[in-house]
């Protein structure tokens, strides 16, 4: 079973995505901010847990933004190659470029379609599987 980590400070959106993913057969877990997301992505506080197969990150979060979290994930050996999908209300060309420049694998623009989100998760995981 593939595991997906959802990092979003908006609890309604986070719980909805976790529910959708769980319903679709993924092992999904949520983190309420970038710091908690970074810890969870690295396999928990002691690093002994499972590193997720994919991470969904919200762009706008307090304390640590989605972009900062993505940079931190890419700098951490355990999570450097984990596919990331960025959830964002920002759809400007320059911002999309900024995300791809730091190694984000795909984008979902808010307001988002939860069904389309599932398709994108599936597609990114399939691409990552083909690469491995």
């Amino acid at each position: 079973m593939k595991t997906v980590l959802v990092v979003d400070d908006d609890s309604d959106v986070r719980e909805l995505i976790v529910w959708k993913l769980t319903n679709a057969g993924y092992a999904a877990m949520g983190a309420a901010d970038g710091q908690a997301g970074l810890v969870a992505a690295g396999g928990g506080p002691d690093g002994s847990g499972r590193v997720p197969d994919l991470i969904l990150v919200d762009w706008l979060m307090p304390r640590m933004t989605g972009i900062e979290l993505c940079q931190a994930l890419r700098a951490q050996p355990a999570t450097a190659a984990v596919p990331i999908i960025l959830l964002t209300a920002k759809a400007e060309e320059s911002e999309v470029e900024q995300g791809f420049a730091i190694g984000v694998d795909d984008y979902i623009v808010k307001p988002f379609s939860p069904r389309e989100m599932l398709s994108r998760v599936q597609a990114v995981l399939a691409r990552a599987g083909a690469r491995a």
Partner: protein, 323 residues
């Protein structure tokens, strides 16, 4: 002695206040945790309704009142965040619970905060039938209600809202240009022909918003009109937004006009002109951009440095954008 008594009295007061404070904090924590429990209990009903589109009336009625309220609060919070089938199912659920009917009534409330909230909610619900309600709120006496209506009309995305939104920039109760830009920019099927009529308006805010939006919609056909606004519009705001629009269009056909604006136009628009030249990535602009590096304002110098960097090392091949 008085002073001696005051100390224990003060200490007692501190203790009482401290205990009362702790009670309030514990009470709030309790409320928060019971609220979280109610939300968690309501989620399966909410999410499965969004997913399937089937409103399980019995399951809804089985929910205790607190959980029903939590379900409505979460549904309202999710409404502006989602689109597609889940959004449509959410709207049906909110219609069933009476939340949309209440919002329609609140659009006529005497309290401005209720009218603004209703406007935002009806826009997020995205029903074209709400257009008349929102157009009425666009002329509300209270600015926050008008702004909410403008944003919601943008969210609704109906092309018929473009003309009323442009008109809302004029009159006794104008809406700020950036609110209107943000609203119309959301209308994906915006009729560019209708928008272009705004270029000949006598109102400077209407012309400013129009050139801005023509750039955002990549309306290359309007390039000659935007160039004319850059060159000789009586409003500096319109000329500045025209420069910004030309940068967004990214066409080398605008370079001569931008260089002329940099040489002869008002200094306040120069940073925007320089940014546009950088976005177009025109090598022929390099000498002018170098001169701007020693310009009078820090904004101009910073924009020139950034533009020169973009012209010398374009991040993306700009061939596709050139027309």
């Amino acid at each position: 002695m008085i002073g001696g008594e005051a100390v224990p009295l003060a200490a007692a007061s501190v203790t009482v206040i401290g205990l009362a404070g702790a009670g309030v904090v514990a009470g709030r924590r309790g409320t928060r945790s019971s609220q979280a429990e109610a939300q968690a209990a309501a989620r399966p009903v909410l999410f499965s309704t969004m997913d399937s589109g089937v409103i399980d009336v019995e399951a809804l009625h089985r929910l205790p009142r607190r959980q029903r309220r939590a379900l409505q609060d979460q549904a309202r919070a999710l409404l502006p965040q989602v689109r597609g089938t889940d959004h449509d199912n959410l709207v049906r659920l909110l219609e069933h619970t009476g939340a949309i009917g209440r919002a329609r009534r609140q659009a006529g409330s005497r309290r401005s905060a209720a009218r603004a909230r209703a406007g935002l909610f009806l826009g997020a619900a995205g029903r074209p039938t709400e257009m008349d309600n929102l157009l009425r709120l666009l002329h509300d006496p209270v600015p926050s209600v008008r702004w909410a209506a403008a944003r919601s009309l943008g969210r609704l995305g109906h092309p018929g809202a473009v003309s009323p939104l442009l008109a809302s920039l004029e009159g006794d109760r104008p809406i700020p240009p950036d609110v209107v830009v943000e609203a119309i920019a959301q209308i994906r099927q915006c009729p560019v022909a209708v928008l272009r009529q705004g270029l000949s308006s006598r109102s400077a805010p209407v012309r400013a918003v129009t050139v801005d939006l023509l750039g955002r919609f990549h309306a290359l056909a309007a390039l000659p009109d935007i160039v004319r606004r850059l060159a000789d519009d009586p409003s500096i705001e319109v000329r500045t937004r025209a420069a910004q629009a030309l940068g967004r269009l990214g066409s080398p056909r605008a370079v001569d006009a931008l260089l002329a604006a940099l040489a002869d136009g008002p200094a306040t628009m120069h940073p925007q002109v320089v940014r546009a030249l950088g976005e177009i990535g025109a090598p022929e602009a390099i000498p002018a951009l170098r001169r701007a590096l020693t310009g009078p304002s820090p904004q101009l110098r910073a924009a020139a440095a950034h533009a020169l960097e973009a012209v010398r090392a374009p991040a993306q091949p700009s061939a596709g954008r050139r027309a």
